[in-house]
Structure formats: structure tokens, C-alpha cells
Symmetry: C2
Subunit: 696 residues, 2 copies
């Protein structure tokens, strides 16, 4: 990857002859951007381009360049790539469009490019890309004339578009350090670049723009490793259904279910943002602050109103307002009228105005908050009047001196209203200061640093191994694979083989068989009709509960049979499922194989409210006990599971183990598409699967 | 009110002698801001202030000024106010702090000010205020030296702080037209000012900052009238519990429950925003666009990636992506390679780059979208490269010409990335164009205009009148008022008097009474213990359901009695409630008297999930059928009420009427504090209240 970002020499195949306005000449824009290496335009129709000698072919170029850019019509790209390979070039960026982003022919061309790349070992970025930006080396391979940034932060971008690389002022903090547009990603992809930036000393924060996922599991594994050292921020678009369709036609990549992306990012410790403004806030605060060790904020404002706004925003972003350090109120009020309130938020206006000691009071408050062990970060909401009449409200020096006094780099988030970019730059000269455009953005920024702190300290899931009887499963697996599905008793026996508790039951075809089977079961019982024609059994009068004895049972058998024959004469009764009746709260647990990230485990509220409240938590498999616990505690019904108002909670241990066993099942039987246990009934005595369905 | 904003003369009591940096001299700042009226500083220790003659007292001023500003220590304020009253001054702004914002003494002083104001008819703004800003007349009574805005939009602010008035660049669009800080609002409040700005030809949008509500019902009525003509935008802070506490100590105003504020604002047609950035977005889009007649967007982008972002954001903000106007794809693709996709969003980059006709293509696309009857607004996401190499991507002229071609003012929301303030100003010279900082903000802006459209067309609730027997209620009302509550059968009979269906039941004290009562009821029955000691009956083994006959009933009676005697010997059984057993979905309906807005009606999911999912909708009383319907359809459980998977829905008519009757009850019995019907069981045959509780 190094050569893509630091090439000593570049050849450009398809360099335009014309230069100047409207020509989008990559040679010209690279030169203007200050590229310091050797540059070889290849264009058989030109002698010189931008004062550089032009070559008729790749072969004619006098050295084997570190990097080749290809910008020719799509049908000429493969030939150009072949020329690069023949010339011994190892790194190629294909700028041209019209591949998997376009039509069937384009997809075929792209597959051929990928094959050439694999066969030759030549690494290819693109096609359909603006290429690479490296502000540490004044390299910009895109054909847009960009402004060279004054300061270069150690933030690197991997995107599936050129938009974000180009529009750094809208997405980044000041600028990107390095950026790459992977385009259609026929070869170089997120995993390669994460690996590179993960080890790159010039990169302290990695930012991703993803429309689709590529090599999902490797992506997760790589990202998981890196986020234990550096933050990764991701803007995953195509969240909406409509967006997902567009992603398909746009880069030819597949967009998965958004909830799965959330679970995957969480697993990998990736911080997700929703748009360009959030991205800029996240970068700024992570770069300026790093991690935030606790949620407790000290707040200094110049108006009570802003203090209230800060409290609202703190609650929104999971932060808290710290207790005022003891003794500080007295110090601040010293010599002031009695009626002045001092609390946190600290309103410094009346304190500072009476006696005209605004700057001093500000510094006193700030340094006390920064020093306090009960305060994890400070938020300051102050005006920059920029008037000759109000020099007394300037607090640059107070901020600098308070920071020195405190002797630490605790985050100081500021919203300097009425200020401008210069105000912010000046404050940000002080270590550990970041400026935001609103109270909410400041809180949002701090919340990312809080996330980062927790991500750095997270534990890696360790899935338990459970013994199971492979032989008893093999017939069920065979049947499942053949029929693409296992239902009812089959599915229950399948999960039971992995130690997941199920309600005891049998399948019987006749009343005689039912009578015989019932002796092995305990009342009360449930009788259900079975058969392919009965998807929603209860709608059809095909279920009877609360069967207390053999006469109840016979009555149930007769009424179910009659019901079905009367109401749905065309439906075929394949049999009757007789089950011990379980009681408890209705949960749902399940597995779904995601095409990118593999099996995903889910649990949540079952029964009639499943679809209505969608109270479901999801985790990427594998999970350990800790993740199982997190899945349950993050549910809204968690208080009901734990037991409220003195009511007994459910059997927690059995529920956790059931989730762990389901995760283990998913890793052992790797070709399942979907598995649903619904309902799983759970009470204080344990949990029991009542119905299940498995799709291969 | 007019005199507060357009005073021909102002006297300032407590004008400082000193001027210049750090003095916060209101005379100086008013003069610098260009106030053109007559100005009279009152200060017995000064001859001249800022070149103006200073007067020793109010009485010495040679005219009766239109407006007086009082800025003296809090203990001198009342005397100053009395002087103003004596001098015949009718409008006073009290800038001084230390009143209900401070302590008990301050509260007493403020009450005295209020009494003086009421008795004399002199209108008072404040205390604890920065006063008034009127940019149409260069009037700023605050003591901060502000920048005079170049353009003055017709947007007026009413705030409970000076922050927003001063920090217009952070909260407004360019500037405020007029602004007022009502401070502690001892006299002039939101209602007065809404009335004034509602009729003010210089105000087309009203913006509110509220920490607490004052005169809630009058506020709602006034706002409801105005929002049928002009949009009202509100930032209501103190959302969090912590924030609510701070509001209490900050302006002495009470902050109600945030959900009630939501319901109240909805009722009044007020558009609620969450922070300064949202406020600025709302103002900008409402000012530039007015209303948005439909949700269908045409999108023009220069990158596919931004198109996907637009789709995501549209879904987030309840807007949709329009179908591409027929024929437009062919027109745009004319002469371009076959593989170029044209859809909505329209990616104009490949279309514009091939053949170098970017501006033309942009104009073609934009005017077609603006003209189309299937497109309600256009979102354009384009770069402003600001490079001499890319003049071809400038689309100022294209925007202007397309607008002219289309001949309408359909909203055109733009995100011009890489641009700056000048870019935005230039685009906004075109009618009906507004620029935003992100795709999300553009969508957010359009969504406010969509809200405004719907608010303008909303209907005013008309509550039905239901006949009821006042005499049969009077005993219950008497008991309720005396005991501060009605429970069980009493509460049920109370609501039954208003025609709300209840399950039939009786209260009995002994087994003999139970036996006698049962003949009037139909099995199955429920037996419950009653008494003050039993708040959560079912936790105590005090409820038996499914009683099918007299022997079941006797068994239930014995087991409940034994249960209670055994487990809670100290609890007193006051009686037994015998009810017909109802079935159906468990809902909850109720009333709560809000201290600001009066009775609020609520309905939602009852039973064990009530607290977990909080699926409750609220409306301010009165409601009519339409609002009742909205309350039910906005619930997440609405699909279950309507019936899914062929299951029968509940009796819709009976449920709607029950809500209407409850609203009517609330207006008739005006001294209820709370009323809960929980559960209300509802199925296809109707709904029935099973338990109720009323608090006076």
C-alpha cells in the first residue's frame, strides 16, 4: 500500500493533451498540488503536457514507475493494465468509469481486471475512483484542483466515493492526512487499507465511508484489532431501503441490513456516524481529546439559558453534570451579593460582571474544574463579542493559564458563540481544547470520546464449547439440507441436541398414536395441528391449550380435526403435535446468516408484540457470556425479565446459557440460513423452546 | 407593545457615568447601534454621558419618554419604577437582576413590581432582561455592543434569555428582525408578544425560546390562531429532569412535563426545534421557502454517493424521492454512452463531463424538475470548487435561468460543499433557494416547510357534547373531593355516568353479600380483594379470574381471604369486588391536569408492557373525533388494534367515542387532578373499563 501513498514516480496513461480550465487534466492538478516525484504522461498524440515530456506508450517510459494512473475509455483499460504489468509496474489506479457501476459489459470488464490483478500480483485501486490523496507528500491523483491545506492532521480516509476526499472542509477537521477512494474496489479494499492505516505512524484516526461491505469477516477481524489502538469512525450510507437499491446500482456492492451493520460495527469497536457534520464532530473531538474517561461534566456558561441547554444535551448524549467541586462556590462568590447562585453549570456572567473580574473568575472556575477528580471534562459556552467595548470578556489567556495550572489535558469542549473560524483556531492552540458550533455538537463530540474509551477497554468475546451428539444430529441435518427446512418437532430436536431446553412433545398421526404417546408426557398439554398448509396455526382453530386430562385431550383432537375439515377442507392434516404446556414470558431467539458478516444471533420480545415494538438485540456470532448478558440487558423488556414490583425474575443463567449454546450451534453448523425459536418461554424455573423453524 | 419596539424617546435610569471598554454602558451601546430617537440618561452624579445631557431624576427629564430602561441595584428598582409611573411613562424595561431568578427577597420585590404594573397599567418587561432589539429601527437596549446586520429578515424572537438575541449568527438566519428578552416576565409575557408579532407586518416568522410556560391556555389559544397565518418555531429547553430543575432556579418559572409540551405545541401548530442549529435551519427554510406542498423530491447530485445520502436523509425526515419526470432521462442521455444511468437522484457528473456540458445539463435537469407536477421540491448537492481550473462547474446562471424557465418558486434546497458564505449568498439571490450545510440539514429544512403546510391546513378540534346525569354523579363527586380520590367501583361508576362502558360489578363485604350479588352478573367472573392496603392486588394473591360457577366462586372467596390473612395479617380487607370477566387487548386511557395547559388526555398500551414501551399518545383537552383517531393511529400497537393477519380488529367506533367522552368529562369536571382507566379491555365487540382510579 505504501507505494500508492508515497510513489517516487507516477505514469499517467490517458493524460489529456489540453490543459487549463475545464480540461480536468490530472497531470496539471498533480503539479499544482505540488507533487515532488517524477511524473510521466503517456499520450501518443502529445509531445509535452504541462511542460513534461509525454510518452507514446508505457513501454517508452524510461523507468518502472512506482504507480500508474489509468484514465482512458473503459474498453481500453484492460490493454493499459496489461502494458503496466508487462512494464513491471506493481501499483495501478484505474480512474475510468463504466464498470460494475454501469452495466453487464462493465461488470465483465471489471472481472477481467480483477483476474489480471490476482494473476500478476499487481495491486489495483478502482476502477471508478479519484485515487489517492496524501497531504504529507502533496500528492493528489484526482483530477480536481484542490486547495493545499495549511495544517495536516493525522486522519486517514477510506471511501467508496471521491466526494469525501475532495470535500474535506465539509467532512473532515481542517483536512485529511491521507485519503483513498476505492471506487468499485475490484482489488484493493477496506481490509487492505485498514491493515495499512492501522500500522501507519502518520495515521491516528481512520475514517470510513461505506456503501457496501466487502470481505465482511476479515473486515471485522481487522477492524477489531485496530480499534484497540486507534479509533475508526464509519459513515455507512444506504441505510434506507431506497438507499440500499441505489448502492447496488452505484458501486455494484451489496448493502446489507442496517441493523446488522450496527451490530457488526459495535462488535468491531467502530464508531458510527450518520452524516458529514457528525463525521467532522467525531474527528475533531477524537483528534483533540482522545478518550474521555468518565461521563461527568463541569459546565461554565455566560448565561443561565445555555446551562439549561447543556443539561438537556448531556442527557441526550449519555453524559452527566458533575457535582461542583467542594469549596469552589465559596471561592467564586467571595465578595459578591448573597443572592447570586453558584452551581454546576456555573453561570459566570453575574459573578464576573459584579466587580468586573470576568477573566479571573473564568480562570478560577476553569482551573478548579480541570483539577477536580470529580470532573471528567469541561464544557464552556461563552461569547466572543469581538467588540472594542468588551475586551474584558476575552478569555484566551484564562484558558491557557487554567490549563497550565491544572497540569492535565482533560477535555475542554467549547462553544464560542458569535465567534468565527479564527476564534476557534486561537482557542485550539491550547492543548486539549476543541470548539464546536452548538452545545449539542460539543456533547456529541464528547460522547464519541466516551465511546472510544469504552472501546479501548472492551473485552473480546470468548465463546464456550459445548459437547453435543453429532451422530444424533446427522439425520436431522440431512433432512434439513434436503428439504431446505426443519419445522416443529424436528427443529426442536435439532436445537435440543445442542442442549437448548425444549418442551417435551411428540408427533402423532392418529388418535391411537396420540393416546399411546400421552403416557410419556405430563399434563397440562397443548395439541396443535401440523402440516405444510398450516403456517399460522392459531388463526385456523388448530391449537388447543390447557388440556388437563385424557377427556380434554380427546375433545381437543376432535374439535381441531373438525375445525380444519370444516373451514379449510382443502388443507391436509399431516399430523398432530402434542406438547407439554410451558408458561412464562414469551421471548424470541434466532440466527440469521448475513451475506457479509456471517451468522448473527438475535433475541428479544416474542409473541404478538414482536413486530410492533421490534425489541430485539443482535450480535455477530460468536458471543460469550458477557455478550449474551449485554443482549438481554439492552432489551427494553429487561426490567420485566429481571422482575419488577417484587415479582420474581426469570432464570437468568438458563437464558444466558441458551444464547451461548445458540451461538455455538451457529459456528458448528455453518450452512444454516435462518433459525427461529419463537416462542421461547422463560420463567423463574428456566426457559423452554416451544416452537422452532430452521431454514438451510 | 409597539412603544417597546419603536420608542421615539427613551430614558435610562442608572446610566453609568463611565464609558468605553468594560463599562457596559447602555447609552453608549444604543448610540453605537444607531438609535435615532431622543435619549435621556438619568444619573444624579453625572453631567453628561456620551455627550448627552444627564438628568438627576426622572422628574427632571423634559418629556414623558415612550420607554424607560431601569438598570439600578435591585433594592432601588421599585423606587425607580414609581418615578416612571409618576412621570406618566407607560413602558418600562427592568434590566436589573436579583429577583425571582435569585432568592425569596427577590421574589417579593418582583411581586411588588408586578402589583405596581397591574395597578398603574404601565407595561413592564423583565426584570432580569437585556430588553429589546429592533433592527428595522437600529434599536438595541441591551448593554452589549452588537454588529449591525446588513440585511434584516422579517423574523421576530421572544426569548427568556438575552443569549439568543445577542447570538443571532448562531441561532438565526443572518439576523433577527425584532427580538425581546422577557426575562422573569413579571408582566409582559409570551401571550402579549405573540399577539403583537401576530399582527406585526414586519414579522413573518415568530421564534420562541421557552424555559417555562406562562398563561398556558391563553398561550395555546393565541398561538393556535397565529399559526394559521405565520409559522411559530419554538426551542423549549429544560427537557431533561436536570434541566427542569435548573429552569426553576433560573427564571423562577415552572417547567412542565416535556411530553405535555410536545402535545401542546402540536395542538397550537408550533414547530418545535431542539437546538440552535435546528432553529437556524428552520428559520432559513421557512423564510426562503414558506410551505412545502408535498413530500416528493427531485435530487440533483454531482456524485452517486451524495445521492445515496439524500435517500437516507429523505427517509429520516419523512420525505420521498420522486419518480423522474418522463422523457427527462432520454433528454439528459442524448448523445452520451449507453451505460450511463439516469434516475432520481440524477448524477450529473458523468452526464456533464462527457461532452463538457455540465452547466447546460444542470439547467436542463433542474428546470425539468422544477416544472414537473410530480416533484414538490428539488435538492441539489453540488461542489463549489473555487478554482480557476473548474469554471465549467459553476451553476449560478443555470440556477437562475432554470428558475426563470420553470416560472414558479418551488423550493430549491442546496448543499454547496466546498463553498463558503459568499457562495450561499450568491445562490440565495435567486428566489426560492436556500443553502444548507449538509444533506440532512437540507432535508430537515424541507421537513419544517412540510410541517408548516400541514399546520396551515389543520382543523380545529371540535369536542362533542354528551348528555349525562349530573345528579347521580354528585354524591360521587362529593366523596371524591372529600377523600381526594375515587377507586374501584366508585371510579367505574363515575366514568360510567359519562357513558364510558365498564364491566358490571359489585362490592360486597361478606360471603352472604357476594352470594346475593352474583345473581345479577354473568359468568365468568373475577373476584378481587379491595381496601386501601391493596395497591397491587395481584401481587398479594388477592385476585382470582375465570370463575365459572358458584362453587368456583366460593373457593375463590376462601382462598383470597386465607391468602391475605396468612401472608399479610396486618392488612385490612375492606370488601370484595365481584366483576364480570372481560376479554380483549389491554389499553390504558387517562387524564392528567397539567399546571400550565390544563387537562391532557392519554391513551396507549396497558398491562405489563405499559412502562416498558411507553406506547402512549397524548392530546390537550378538548379533542374531537379526528384527534381521537390520531391518538390511536399514532400508537405503535395501532396495527394490532386494526387487526393483522386476518385477525379481527377492535371496535373502532366504541374506542373513539370512549376517548371523546373522556375528553368531555375532563371539561365538565374541571377539578380532577388525575384519572386512570387501566385496563380498558377492547375487542371486536366493544371496550370496557375494568379498573379505574380518580384523584382530585
Amino acid at each position: 500500500m505504501q507505494k500508492f501513498f508515497n510513489p517516487a514516480s507516477i505514469i499517467m496513461i490517458g493524460a489529456p493533451r489540453n490543459t487549463g480550465p475545464g480540461t480536468y487534466n490530472g497531470i496539471e492538478t498533480m503539479l499544482r498540488y505540488g507533487y515532488g516525484g517524477r511524473l510521466y504522461p503517456v499520450n501518443p498524440k502529445a509531445d509535452h503536457i504541462c511542460g513534461l515530456k509525454a510518452y507514446p506508450s508505457v513501454a517508452a517510459v524510461p523507468e518502472t514507475a512506482d504507480l500508474a494512473l489509468i484514465s482512458v475509455g473503459r474498453d481500453h483499460v484492460i490493454r493499459a493494465l496489461e502494458h503496466c504489468i508487462q512494464a513491471g509496474i506493481r501499483h495501478v489506479i484505474i480512474i475510468s468509469q463504466g464498470f460494475s457501476d454501469a452495466d453487464q459489459h462493465g461488470r465483465q470488464l471489471q472481472e477481467k481486471i480483477a483476474r489480471l490483478s490476482r494473476a500478476s500480483g499487481v495491486r489495483v485501486v478502482g476502477p471508478n475512483t479519484m485515487g489517492v490523496l496524501n497531504n504529507f507528500r502533496n500528492l493528489s491523483t484526482g483530477f480536481i484542483d484542490l486547495v493545499i491545506p495549511a495544517k495536516v492532521p493525522s486522519v486517514s480516509l477510506i471511501a467508496q466515493t471521491g466526494l469525501i476526499q475532495v470535500a474535506s472542509q465539509n467532512f473532515a477537521y481542517r483536512a485529511w492526512g491521507k485519503a483513498i477512494d476505492i471506487g468499485n474496489a475490484c482489488d484493493v479494499d477496506f481490509v487492505d487499507l485498514l491493515e495499512y492505516f492501522g500500522n501507519d505512524p502518520e495515521t491516528s484516526i481512520i475514517v470510513l465511508h461505506m456503501e457496501g461491505v466487502l470481505r465482511g469477516r476479515e473486515f471485522l477481524d481487522t477492524a477489531s484489532r485496530i480499534t484497540l489502538k486507534k479509533p475508526i469512525i464509519a459513515l455507512k450510507t444506504g441505510r434506507s431501503n431506497a438507499g440500499a437499491t441505489a448502492a447496488l446500482s452505484h458501486t455494484g456492492s451489496l448493502v446489507g441490513d442496517d441493523a446488522v451493520s450496527d451490530a457488526a460495527f459495535r462488535r468491531a469497536g467502530i464508531i458510527r456516524v450518520r452524516n458529514n457534520l457528525d463525521m467532522a464532530v467525531a474527528i475533531r473531538s477524537l483528534l483533540r481529546f482522545g478518550e474521555l474517561s468518565g461521563p461527568r461534566l463541569g459546565v461554565i456558561t455566560a448565561t443561565g439559558a445555555a446551562g439549561i441547554m447543556a443539561m438537556d444535551a448531556a442527557e441526550d448524549f449519555g453524559l452527566t453534570i458533575a457535582d461542583l467541586p467542594s469549596g469552589l462556590a465559596d471561592k467564586l462568590k467571595h465578595g459578591k451579593p448573597d443572592w447570586i447562585h453558584v452551581g454546576n453549570p456555573i453561570d459566570i456572567w453575574p459573578l464576573g460582571m459584579i466587580g468586573r473580574t470576568y477573566g479571573k473568575i473564568y480562570q478560577l472556575a476553569l482551573s478548579a474544574l480541570l483539577k477536580s477528580d470529580d470532573v471528567d471534562a469541561v464544557l464552556s459556552i461563552i461569547p466572543d463579542f469581538r467588540s472594542p467595548l468588551h475586551p474584558d470578556t476575552e478569555v484566551f489567556d484564562a484558558v491557557r493559564d487554567a490549563r497550565k495550572e491544572a497540569g492535565n489535558s482533560k477535555p475542554l469542549a467549547m462553544w464560542v458563540y458569535m465567534g468565527n473560524a479564527a476564534t476557534e483556531e486561537k482557542f485550539e492552540e491550547v492543548d486539549g481544547v476543541a470548539c464546536f458550533s452548538s452545545v449539542d455538537q460539543a456533547m456529541e463530540g464528547l460522547s464519541y470520546c466516551r465511546q472510544h474509551h469504552q472501546i479501548l477497554r472492551r473485552t473480546i468475546p470468548s465463546q464456550r464449547h459445548f459437547p453435543y451428539d453429532q451422530r444424533s444430529l446427522s439425520a436431522l441435518i440431512k433432512k434439513g439440507r434436503e428439504e431446505k427446512a426443519l419445522l416443529g418437532e424436528d427443529a426442536l430436536r435439532f436445537i435440543a441436541a445442542f442442549g437448548i431446553p425444549i418442551t417435551r412433545g411428540v408427533i402423532a398421526k392418529t388418535w391411537e398414536e396420540i393416546k399411546k404417546a400421552v403416557v410419556s408426557l405430563d399434563y397440562p398439554l397443548v395439541l396443535k395441528v401440523t402440516g405444510r398448509d398450516f403456517l399460522h396455526k392459531s388463526d385456523w382453530g388448530g391449537v388447543t391449550t390447557n388440556i388437563e386430562d385424557i377427556s380434554d385431550l380427546h375433545q381437543a383432537y376432535q374439535s381441531i380435526t373438525k375445525n380444519i375439515q370444516l373451514k379449510h377442507p382443502q388443507a391436509r392434516i399431516e399430523g398432530y403435535q402434542l406438547q407439554e404446556q410451558a408458561i412464562g414470558k414469551e421471548l424470541l431467539i434466532g440466527l440469521k446468516r448475513d451475506s457479509h458478516f456471517g451468522p448473527v444471533i438475535a433475541c428479544g420480545l416474542g409473541g404478538i408484540y414482536t413486530e410492533v415494538f421490534k425489541d430485539i438485540s443482535r450480535e455477530i456470532v460468536p458471543i460469550g457470556r458477557r455478550e449474551a448478558e449485554k443482549m438481554l440487558t439492552s432489551l427494553r423488556i429487561y426490567p420485566l425479565l429481571k422482575g419488577i414490583r417484587g415479582e420474581m425474575g426469570v432464570d437468568w443463567e438458563s437464558l444466558l446459557e441458551t444464547l451461548e449454546r445458540l451461538s455455538f450451534l451457529a459456528t458448528e453448523i455453518s450452512d444454516l440460513a435462518e433459525l427461529d425459536v419463537n416462542p421461547l418461554l422463560v420463567d423463574a424455573s428456566g426457559c423452554k423452546a416451544v416452537d422452532a423453524r430452521i431454514i438451510w
